[in-house]
Structure formats: C-alpha cells, structure tokens
C-alpha cells in the first residue's frame, strides 16, 4: 500500500507540473486545471489509506474528523467560489491562498505540539531531539511563513473587499515591524532550544500580528504584488511542511509554486516599475513627494454622453482603456455592445490593457473575455502605445493611475517611472469616472485637466448605456 501511495503522490506532482505548464498558454489552459484537479483528487484519496492515518488508536475518530473538515471547508469554498463575481476574483484568490498558508502553519503547530508533549513527558530532552534538527528548523520556518501569509492574505482580502480602508495602524510602522520581526526570530530560536508551550503560543501569535502589520500599510495599487508574493510564500511553506512530513507531493508542488510565484511577483512588480522590497517597506505615496505633486493646475471639463457618443461614432479609431472602475460597475458587457455598434459604423475599435490594470495582471482580460470581446481586439501596452497619436478618441473607463502622464514627466510623483498608456497623445480623451476624486493610489491625474480631455461623470454601466443610445440614434 505504501508503494501505491508514493506512486500516486508522484503522479499527482507530475500532473500539477504538466497542468501548470498547460495553463501558461490560452489554448491548453483549461485542460491544465483539469489535469491538476485530477492530481489533487488522486493524492487526497490515497492519503486516507496512509499508515499515519490508519495505523493508530484514534484512527476512527480522526478519519471522521477529516471527512467533516473537508466537507465544511470544501463546501464553503465551493459555494463562495461559484458565487463570487468575476470582479471580486482577486480578493477570493487572496482568501483561498491565506487558507493554504494557515493550513501549512497548523501542520507545523501539530508537529511542534507533539514534540512539546514528548519533551514534557520526559521521553525527549528537546523539540529537535524528538523531530530531528532539520525537521524542526523547517517546521518553524514553514510556520513563520505560513502564518504571515495567512494573516497577511486575510488583510489583503479585507482591503480589496472594501472592509478595511486604513493604510495606517501605528506611527513608525516600519520600525515596529522590524523590531517585531527580530523578536519573532528570537522566539523561534527559543522554541527550538527550550520547547516550552507558552513560547510556541507566543511565537504563533506574534507571527499572526506581523502578517497583519506588514500588509496594512501596503497601498491599493501594490495589492496584486502582495497577493502574488503571499501565494509564493504559501507554496514555500507547503514545501517546508512537506519535508517535515516526508511527503514528496507537498515538497514538489509547494516548491514549484514557491519559485513560479516568486518569478510571477517579480514580473508584476517590474510591470509597475517597483521592486518587491519597495512595495513592502515603503508605504505607497505617503512620503513628502505625494504632497508636493498633489497640486494639479486646471479644471476638469465635463461632456454629456450624447456629445461623447457622436464624437466616437464619427471617429476613425477608438481605443478603450478599461480599469478597475469598469469592473466595479460591471460595464464590460455594455462596453462590448458599444464596441459592436461602433464597428458597424466603420470605426476601428481597440482595447488597450495596462499590465496592472484592475487589481491583478490579466484582470481586465478576464472581464473582457467574459463579455465576449475577441482576443485580436485586445492589445498590450507595448503594442499599442505608438498607436495613440493616430487615435481620434481614447475612452478611459474606470482607469486612472495607468493613464497618468505624471508617471512619465513628473519626477516628484509617487508614480514616477511606472510605464503608462499614452492616452494623452490621442486627439481626444473621454474619461468615464464616478466622481472627481483621485485613483486608488490617491495621486492626482493631470490627464483629467488636459485640454483634449473631457470628463463623463457617472456610473460606468449607466454611462455606457447612454453612449449606446447616443450612437444608436445617429
């Protein structure tokens, strides 16, 4: 049986890797998740036959508990996962990821508690004496990483879900975090050396607090990077706990996600021209630079949907730049309807997607795909930026920071250096926006007061509807 279990784990690991590989191409992506899913089912089922589970006195109780826990946790996730709107996907990924980190930390907790019980009973002199030095070190490391990913992901979820709006908890947050991190390391070393129950509890409690403190100051625009980083960290924690349990499937799958996630995080940060360290250790736009660039001269000029519709209907080329605002307003279907109307009138319509538009890279692509917009109308930033001067109207819907020209021109802007879409280079810009406020990063946008920009205030879906009516009436 042991051999069958090990072969099944190996099969699962191979299916995960092949599945992920297929997910990196749009054509095979769907098959990829099915393969990975099959691997997960196989690994889970054979584990019920594992010696660790069947071979002890309380096997009957524990197996029942396992089934109940899988039913509850899986059922909850199935229900929420099926119901969640596409727009809220990023925070759900953060939530599920946090659960995985918490599970890895809880595995470490069980191992440490078992070792601690053995030390207390006097059969072993210390935790490493019971678990082995290598296992103890990795269990503790996995516990730190998993716990931070757990509480951090919950905060990321709360921030994206609009349940937590503060970016400031304490003065000198970075310094406090640094001190807490040092204390956490000291605690970890003492858990290793002494094996006292209170120390273990304090250790986990502090790691929880640190995860919260690290994530709260992170600005909204940086959230995708943080979620991706926590995803990589959870993978690493799973890999470490896999070593603790001597489980090959966990080691391989966890480490693959750890390294893949790290690279993905790096790619995202690069797309925003920010280093990962920068994201973590400097609150976004909280420095004096933000205050200095906050003054933008000029006024925003309003336009009515009727006029905007006419402008677009007689344009030769229209580029649509969607942002998170479109996601919130669920306007993607209306925008696609408008696009089809304009195409019928002979207008060339393109969609321009900034790498970090929305709350995650690819977020806008998913939404546009949902509405039915074909691939060949959607362009990446590099491919479309040279095309803006040939564009009659650029329609910005719910995007802000990704079209902020200050990122190119104004060294004092917190966004300075981030590559942006050249919306300002087109002949006319129409910005659909709910109100006059700043974007998620809280930075003023000079594009909105530019001479060739007109503001169209209102809810994205409602405005898109009015535009459709305006174009239809022509």
């Amino acid at each position: 049986m042991e051999l069958i279990i090990q072969i099944s784990y190996l099969l699962a690991a191979v299916l995960f890797i092949l599945g992920l590989k297929q997910m990196s191409s749009p054509v095979t992506a769907r098959r990829g998740i099915h393969w990975a899913g099959a691997g997960m089912v196989v690994a889970t089922l054979v584990t019920f036959a594992a010696e660790e589970i069947t071979g002890n006195e309380q096997a009957a109780t524990n197996v029942m508990l396992i089934i109940i826990a899988i039913g509850l946790g899986g059922g909850y996730a199935w229900y929420t996962g099926k119901r969640v709107a596409m727009t809220d996907m990023p925070q759900m990924i953060a939530m599920y990821n946090g659960m995985g980190g918490g599970a890895a930390a809880a595995i470490a907790a069980v191992e440490l508690l078992k070792a601690q019980a053995a030390v207390q009973a006097g059969s072993h002199s210390s935790i490493p004496d019971y678990l082995g030095a290598d296992v103890t070190v990795l269990a503790i490391l996995g516990a730190i990483i998993g716990t931070i990913a757990f509480s951090g992901s919950i905060i990321a979820w709360a921030k994206l879900d609009g349940r937590l709006n503060t970016s400031k908890l304490l003065p000198q947050q970075q310094l406090i975090n640094l001190i807490l991190a040092v204390v956490l390391v000291v605690l970890a070393v003492n858990v290793y050396l002494s094996g006292s129950l209170n120390l273990i509890i304090a250790f986990f409690a502090l790691a929880l607090v640190l995860g919260v403190f690290i994530t709260v100051p992170v600005g909204g625009a940086d959230m995708p990077v943080i979620i991706s980083l926590f995803n990589a960290l959870t993978g690493l924690a799973v890999g470490f706990e896999g070593y603790v349990l001597g489980n090959a499937a966990m080691i391989i799958a966890g480490t693959v996600v750890g390294s893949a996630g790290t690279l993905l995080t790096h790619l995202m940060a690069k797309a925003m021209n920010r280093s990962v360290a920068n994201v973590f250790f400097s609150g976004f736009g909280t420095g004096p630079a933000a205050a200095a660039s906050a003054d933008v001269d000029g006024t925003q000029k309003e336009v009515q949907a009727q006029d905007a519709g006419i402008m677009m209907a007689y344009a030769t080329q229209v580029i649509v730049i969607p942002g998170y605002g479109m996601a919130v307003a669920q306007a993607q279907h209306k925008i696609w309807e408008l696009t089809q109307l304009l195409t019928e009138k002979g207008v060339k319509v393109k969609f321009a997607i900034h790498p970090v538009a929305g709350r995650m890279p690819g977020h806008m692509n998913v939404l546009l795909a949902e509405a039915g917009v074909p691939y060949d109308m959607i362009y990446d930033m590099e491919d479309i930026n040279a095309d803006f001067p040939n564009t009659t109207v650029t329609l910005v819907i719910g995007a802000n920071d990704v079209v902020n020209p200050a990122a190119k021109k104004d060294p004092s802007s917190p966004l300075y250096g981030m590559p942006t879409l050249n919306a300002e280079a087109s002949q006319n810009v129409i910005v659909i926006k709910r109100g006059r406020g700043t974007g998620f990063s809280g930075v003023e946008n000079p594009l909105f007061v530019a001479d060739n920009t007109r503001m169209l205030f209102g809810d994205g879906q409602k405005v898109a509807n009015e535009l459709i009516q305006a174009v239809k009436e022509l």
Partner: protein, 102 residues
C-alpha cells in the same frame, strides 16, 4: 523517507521547474496562472490530513481539524475559481475562430 541531500535535490529541481513554467507566459494569463498555482499548493490538504491523523490530544485534534478545514478551502476554492476564469477563455477562443472563418 526523504532525507538530507535527496531533499535538497528535490527542492532545487522543483524550484527550477517552477521558474521554467512561468518564464514564457503572456500577461493575460497571469491572473489565471496565479490562481492555478494557488490551487496547486492546496496539496497542503494531504499534509493536513496526516497532521489530523497523527493527532493524539484534543488540542492537537482541534488544530489538525482547522488545518484540514483551511486546506480543503484552499484546494476546492482554488480549483473552482481557476476553472471559472479559464472557462471564459474557451468561449473567447470560439468567437475568435468564427471571426477568422468569415
């Protein structure tokens, strides 16, 4: 079972594998791929089951139960969300093909 140097080899090779998978991915698949890798580390469920399986005291059982609960959420939620996202890409592909035939 898997000890010392053998584990180091596994860690290293798995690390390179992860790196290799991601290195050539179009931006549009970043979110689904992050979601997919989020699902893959749901394999922690296997470890959580073992942790609950070896639990002896009530406190260990409680923590083990929480581990399985959270891990199942990670695995199931990660799968459902990824599948839903990728389902849309399939529809897009179809529309795309039709357009090409016109």
């Amino acid at each position: 079972m898997i000890e010392g140097l053998a584990a180091v080899y596994i860690f290293l090779l798995a690390g390179f594998t992860g790196f290799e998978i991601i290195s050539r991915v179009p931006v549009i698949l970043h979110t689904p791929l992050m979601s997919g890798s989020n699902f893959v580390h749901g394999i922690v469920l296997v470890g959580a089951m073992i942790a609950l399986g070896i639990a002896e005291t009530t406190s260990q059982q409680v923590i083990g139960f929480i581990a399985v609960l959270l891990a199942a959420g990670n695995a199931v939620g990660g799968y459902v969300v990824t599948e839903r996202m990728l389902e849309m890409f399939k529809t897009t592909g179809k529309t795309d093909n039709k357009g090409a035939h016109k």
